[in-house]
Amino acid sequence: MMPDLGKYADAVMGAYGASILLLGLIVWLSWRKAAQVRKRLAEVEGRTNG
């Protein structure tokens, strides 16, 4: 299944790791901002409508 990466194994697996880390970071940051904005909108709507 996994090809033998030989002497490049560390570099290739490191690149996979860094990519997964960055993708996870961008997803987490987007998700966190979305949750914060959703909460703030609910507060503002509650204040302005109530």
């Binding site: 997803v27 987007s30 904005v37 909108l41 503002v44």
Partner: protein, 131 residues
């Protein structure tokens, strides 16, 4: 073929230019306080910058002497990639397209909510001034 971290290869060099352009785009967006002005200016920059995306995409064809191989996927039915790489490549493409769509939807909804917050707060401030 490869065997090097960096070479002034057409694909690598054109992608470096594209990457620097992306950084400039983000920097311009962040440097302007008013979101509408930022959107106008960055959209112009984006149109100009799309040339670099095309340049990077076809760099291998334009300058044929690079390290990079030709297209991995093509419609000519010629097999360009071994099975051990072909199937993971398709899975990765599908995964990245889905991730891209999910992020675009999530961030678009966030932007719409932010604009609604600004509109509601502006309306509330105007109502206070009138009262």
């Amino acid at each position: 073929m490869w065997g090097t971290w960096w070479a002034w290869d057409p694909r690598l060099t054109s992608f470096l230019i594209l990457f620097l352009f992306y950084l400039g785009y983000v920097a311009l967006w962040e440097a302007i306080a008013d979101p509408d002005t930022a959107a106008d200016l960055t959209s112009v920059l984006c149109i100009v910058g799309s040339v670099f995306a095309l340049l990077s995409r076809y760099a291998v064809n334009f300058w044929n002497q690079g390290l990079h191989q030709g297209a991995s996927l093509s419609l000519d039915a010629e097999k360009n990639v071994a099975d051990v790489f072909y199937q993971p490549l398709l899975v990765c493409i599908a995964g990245f397209v889905l991730l891209f769509l999910a992020l675009v939807i999530l961030r678009t909804r966030t932007e719409i909510r932010l604009r609604r917050i600004r509109a509601l707060e502006t309306r509330a401030q105007r109502a206070q001034v009138v009262a």
